[in-house]
Symmetry: C2
Subunit: 463 residues, 2 copies
């Protein structure tokens, strides 16, 4: 696509953008590189320039200019996405929204807040703490809320509070023709028209650039209890989860950590856990109800040959536990120095989870690969950490093939190729395998809303 | 639109449909009338014929034939929608899905079930009871799950369990070109591609005809406690609701009934409630937690000058209470014999609810209109029952104007023109007022997915 015509129109677009943004438009190689490559093995490609924007009006002007010159526009938040979402394979302008980090309004009585897209989840939670409120979606990284909405992010407590799909009330977005729209009201529910909010959530910047997000908030629970519970097998972990959820136990977090991961946690985070498949849990509620929940779970575990379930309500102890869980990436990376690690991400119906995990473990063993597993087991979502020495093409090939088989396995079990990381450029090939003829309608929506294909081309259904 | 050309193509389409369906294609006037007019004041229009279908394959064939002749296709479930959703202003074929009432699969471990679109919520719940599971969305009427998905229905316990938006996992739908698609897997979450499920939920048969629905299920709670709590004012009811939700009380139902409605319930359902704004509540959980929830709510009410909160856990007492709430329509209709009544449906942020209700009451009084109010107060959604003698054009006009002001008031308070009844043909005029430029993108999606505008033309964004 790098034709003389394109170079010419890009040059003209850059000229207009420079007049608009001054030194907030950067073409410095280091800045462009940083905005074109994520931390994974997905190939990166730098944009032609990076625009550091201040408000929705600026994004609108940028998109209008780019629309005139058919120049790609790629939204960038914190750069923590994992599937090559913000690479620029066709060049264009990276719109860095991290400077749009104002908390516009907190409506405590309505339990929602409106923030600019660059506000991160930790920033919002620090701001809310004094009001006794919190925003629950927690993908691990301190991602921006705009980016989390765009990738339909979730994480450890989606089992209780839902994902971004359930927690975004409305969005402000700049569409491909430069029009600014608001996708909904602040009412908690509505039956008025098509659900543009949910259409944009998960569209990865291919249908519109999200500039403001209204999210649901929750009261900080009176009591939080967290703990770990060892089990004899992955299957027993899954059975305990199913029983807990079926009986309506409102578990806030329930995370599967396989024996290999427990080893890594013990080494990296100085824990002393029994090396066996383990559940990390958290319960939210009143003092009485969290105690009741913990006791009920303990009884379920015991019946399945697991336990003892040791739990703590002191914040310090809880933090240590969840910090270990969040450090999983680093803990496992430390296991195999010199090798790169990356996280896979499939999700299956819970009833198939044990089978999917066990078959995957056997497959990895047969392929001579090592892959510790963590999972948001309450949702059936798990991550295998795969290692590879990228200078060894044979190993790279074996890893890629094993990941392909994992995805095929998940889809065959009525699951999905990605529970929370998204499609980006890394999983484009799997979209059709998962959706079949439905993909054609996604593409039709893309063509209708962005006929020039300027919004994040080459990602998700924008292909 | 009733040109000789159209009549000719409709005749040809009917001929092909008759060959396909035999006596399951009806052109009997009574059948057509019943499939073209709902129970409200929205004007009806009969379809040219009604097709009683048996499976997705038949729907696919019907849509393919109709696409060839540009004949409108209108999905019909139980006929309980309230905004003229299934009238046929441009003629065409009503596809009656009530015969597609098989429960295809219940996945108890995964807490979901796949059903044909014609299965009603009561049918599903009767089927599930022995397994200790239930489907929570309850719009009052025994609607079909396909229809509930299509209108994004909700009802009394959405505050805890969400609406159809949150409770549909995936759909099978026949698109305007006759292609059958499945919009997602059975995984509880996914970040793979655009959210076609949520795009079809609430699209009222204008983007595709839903033929199968996979919905989330929940374990029947060990304990259910329900009760009524009188308050000195609507405002106190709203404050109590806000406090309860803010402190994380997992209330399953919280319904506002104004004094006029209480009178109607007392008369119609032989209750003996104090005539004052009242909350009807329900709590789900363990024995201990429901007791704790009820006690906590009682304390909140007392602080706000309300109470006493009298509650019961016996099923018989609970059923009587909720039957009264569900009979609201009949109870209020009985108040003004000879007049027609119909339910309005707006939804605002909870913080504005008391204000919106109070201003509306004052407006009605000033307009010489009578309008008892019930509301899903936990969601900020309320219904004013308006009465009118349709032979009195002046009264009809005053009622319509008052409703228009109610909608304007709700939108001005960052709310929506419909919380749960939908747009249909009755509220098309309000879509633009609520969504502004966003409506253009809804229409673009409609044009992209149904370029001939054969799916339920004249409804929602299909205009």
């Amino acid at each position: 696509m790098d034709t003389p015509d394109r170079r010419n129109s890009t040059t003209q677009a850059l000229g207009e953008l420079c007049s608009l943004l001054g030194d907030r438009l950067s073409t410095a190689p280091a800045v462009r590189e940083a905005h074109g490559k994520d931390q994974t093995w997905n190939p990166g490609a730098p944009p032609d320039a990076v625009a550091f924007v201040r408000d929705t009006g600026e994004v609108q002007k940028i998109v209008s200019i780019c629309a005139r010159y058919k120049t790609p526009v790629i939204a960038y938040g914190t750069g923590t996405s994992l599937e090559g979402h913000f690479s620029a394979p066709f060049g264009g302008i990276s719109v860095d929204l991290s400077g749009m980090n104002r908390i516009i309004a907190v409506h405590a009585d309505d339990l929602n807040a409106t923030v600019e897209a660059g506000v991160t989840r930790k920033q919002l939670n620090a701001y809310l703490r004094d009001q006794g409120l919190f925003f629950p979606v927690d993908p691990g990284a301190d991602a921006s809320l705009g980016g989390m909405a765009a990738t339909r992010a979730s994480g450890t407590n989606a089992v209780r509070y839902g994902t971004m799909r359930e927690n975004v009330l409305n969005l402000t977005a700049v569409m491909a023709d430069g029009t600014v729209i608001k996708t909904g009201s602040r009412a908690r529910k509505s039956s008025a028209g098509y659900d543009l909010t949910r259409l944009l959530v998960g569209s990865e910047g291919t249908l519109g650039i999200i500039t403001e997000v209204t999210v649901k908030l929750y009261g900080i629970p009176e009591s939080i209890v967290a703990g770990v519970c060892p089990f004899p097998s992955v299957e027993a972990c899954c059975k305990a989860t199913i029983q807990a959820i079926q009986m309506g136990l409102p578990v806030a977090r329930i995370e599967l950590v396989d024996a290999e991961h427990v080893k890594a946690f013990n080494a990296y985070s100085k824990l002393d856990l029994k090396v066996t498949p383990t559940l990390f849990l958290e319960f939210h509620g009143t003092e009485a109800s969290t105690r009741e929940q913990a006791e009920t779970f303990g009884a379920i575990a015991e019946e399945l040959g697991g336990g003892p379930f040791s739990w703590a309500s002191k914040e310090e102890d809880r933090q240590k536990l969840w910090q270990a869980r969040h450090d999983a990436f680093w803990a496992t990376r430390a296991l195999m120095p010199g090798k790169e690690s990356f996280a896979t991400d499939v999700c299956v119906p819970i009833s198939r989870l044990a089978e999917c995990v066990t078959e995957t473990q056997a497959d990895l063993a047969a392929s001579g690969l090592y892959g510790p597993i963590v999972g948001h087991v309450g949702d059936g979502n798990f991550h295998v950490v795969l290692y590879c020495d990228r200078s060894d093409p044979d190993e790279v090939q074996r890893v890629k093939e094993a990941y392909g088989r994992l995805i095929d396995r998940a889809i065959a079990m009525e699951g999905t190729c990605t529970g929370e990381h998204g499609i980006g450029s890394g999983k484009v090939a799997y979209l059709e395998r998962e959706h079949g003829p439905a993909l054609g309608y996604m593409k039709a929506v893309k063509r209708a809303l962005d006929p020039q294909n300027i919004l994040n081309p080459g990602k998700n259904a924008a292909i």
